[in-house]
Subunit: 317 residues, 2 copies
């Protein structure tokens, strides 16, 4: 199977929204009049973002899901994506399930594959995703204001639990492992929540490197600080194994969560609740934006908790 | 140097056309009203597309140039690009010249860096490029008609000559090597020619895998065949070393040329000449589109020449 057969067999489908899809020098996309195009690119590398023995179907799902998660954080509606793929070999037994997982996720969110590239090389998946958002409606990292509430969607920390199990650093029972592995392998981007939060959230980011790190981006871009309530660790990780020493570290620094962290003014609490209901996504209020820079942790009684937690950095020493 | 310092130091500049650049979950691009967005993605892998000892500055140049070449083939005007980068380490001595070469090429074509991703991994550069083109103006691979002339811009084969020298398969003198290495390392995308050919060319593709392969894409998408005049090998490779056994094989199957192959009706010869002059790009008329499928080679006397040439395929056995 050559390069062009491979593209035809596994990655070419008729397009419905793009003016031109796979098979020419460029794809042609026609945004609706007046809409902005939200664009994000993520690269997944074997050994960094997934294990060599990962199920190719779930890998296809995840590769697109982590990109869609960026659109969700922007409040953008998915339109299309390109796929650039370096493969050690043109292995049909790998390509068939990979493309199935990828295209099923694409169908779920109405996001069509319009082009890309394939080459031989160490396994590397680079997806660039395109969404639409009306001018002024995009959720940015830069809009948080002192006094805003801080929210997180869903649960945090379970993907990291699965990772630590896989690395042999802790031991999960079978039921917990199954649940946590699904979080690690098959994240579901919070597209519906992102869309519902337009006009309500003052800022948003998706949580890929851990809550602290991604909230940190909001604080930096907004020129603010924050105080988080550590008592909420239990709410964000309700099914933590009893043996876990620090639920808080998994909640704050887990990574690979693909939930949204966002802010909204206290006057918008009912609207946030409504957006959560409308999108079928649980959200928890976990803290408040401060004018003073820095991130503080306080327990239920209001006492400061030392913040010794970090977020993921691909080039940290 | 961590991941986010790296992005700030080497890859963050103010944007002038994008509504939002590097630093949020998504970039925001605002196409001009009524324009289509031409999108292309190319992935460059160490050992496949460049040697491990490549000059990082020329690699930065080339990584964007090969993407811009796809916009040129579409007749699209460059707007912006994303960069996803897997690096073995955050090496400033590599990153500084790489980003300089990349951003110099970006400035040459008014194409701004609006986002991307960085991760640790085997060196891999994935760029997705965005250009603008008016509806119906994009040059497609599918528009060639029987009777159309076939043209190629510039010269072909010299990048492949440099590659063969580097691989030790042949030996170039110093002056020839310098010229050919520049073609391999620092291709210049034919943006001006692509723009000038809108409304004139009936089809176009850029030549990355060799003339035969890329013209083959036009023939396949257009449902046509072609006859090429092999006597034109001398014109397309005017400075071929006298020792070279088959200039023709380098012209037809060289690869890495980043010239344009395009078609236009015989009635447009003056317009093609004018577009070539306006864009400062030499073009040569090398053959004709046939209704009968397949690609035929004929010598200056009109006799059929056996076609034993192939094009590059990353997954060919």
């Amino acid at each position: 199977m050559g390069e062009f057969d491979l593209i035809k067999r596994f990655f070419t489908r008729p397009t419905t929204r793009a003016a031109l899809g796979v098979g020419d020098d460029c794809a042609l996309l026609v945004p609706q009049p007046g809409m902005q195009l939200a664009i994000s690119s993520d690269m997944l590398v074997e050994g960094r973002h997934f294990f060599p023995d990962v199920n190719p179907r779930t890998l296809g799902h995840k590769a697109l899901a982590v990109n869609l998660s960026d659109l969700a954080a922007c409040g953008a509606r998915p339109l299309a994506f390109t796929l650039a793929l370096a493969l050690p070999a043109a292995d049909e037994a790998w390509l068939a399930p990979f493309s199935q997982g990828l295209l099923a996720m694409a169908d779920t969110h109405g996001c069509e594959l319009i082009g890309g590239d394939t080459t031989r090389g160490p396994l590397n998946i680079c997806i660039t995703v395109f969404g639409e958002v009306a001018p002024g409606q995009a959720l940015l990292r830069s809009g948080a204001c002192a006094g805003d509430d801080i929210y997180v969607s869903g649960n945090l920390g379970e993907a990291r639990l699965a990772l630590e199990h896989r690395l042999g650093h802790l031991r999960l029972d079978d039921a917990t492992l199954t649940r946590c592995a699904a979080r690690m392998d098959s994240p579901n981007p919070r597209i519906a929540l992102g869309l519902a939060l337009r006009g309500i959230a003052t800022s948003a980011a998706d949580i890929s490197d851990g809550l602290l790190g991604d909230l940190g981006h909001i604080l930096e871009r907004s020129g603010t600080g924050a105080t988080l309530n550590t008592a909420l660790a239990g709410e964000l990780m309700p099914n933590a194994p009893a043996s876990l020493v620090s639920t808080l570290s998994f909640v704050l620094s887990g990574g690979d969560d693909y939930e949204l962290v966002f802010t909204a003014s206290p006057g918008s609490r009912a609207a946030v609740e409504d957006a959560a209901q409308k999108s079928g996504t649980a959200v928890a209020r976990i803290g408040v934006i401060d004018a003073a820079p820095g991130l503080r942790l306080r327990d239920a009684g209001g006492a400061l908790v030392p913040n010794t937690y970090t977020s993921f950095d691909h080039f940290a020493p």
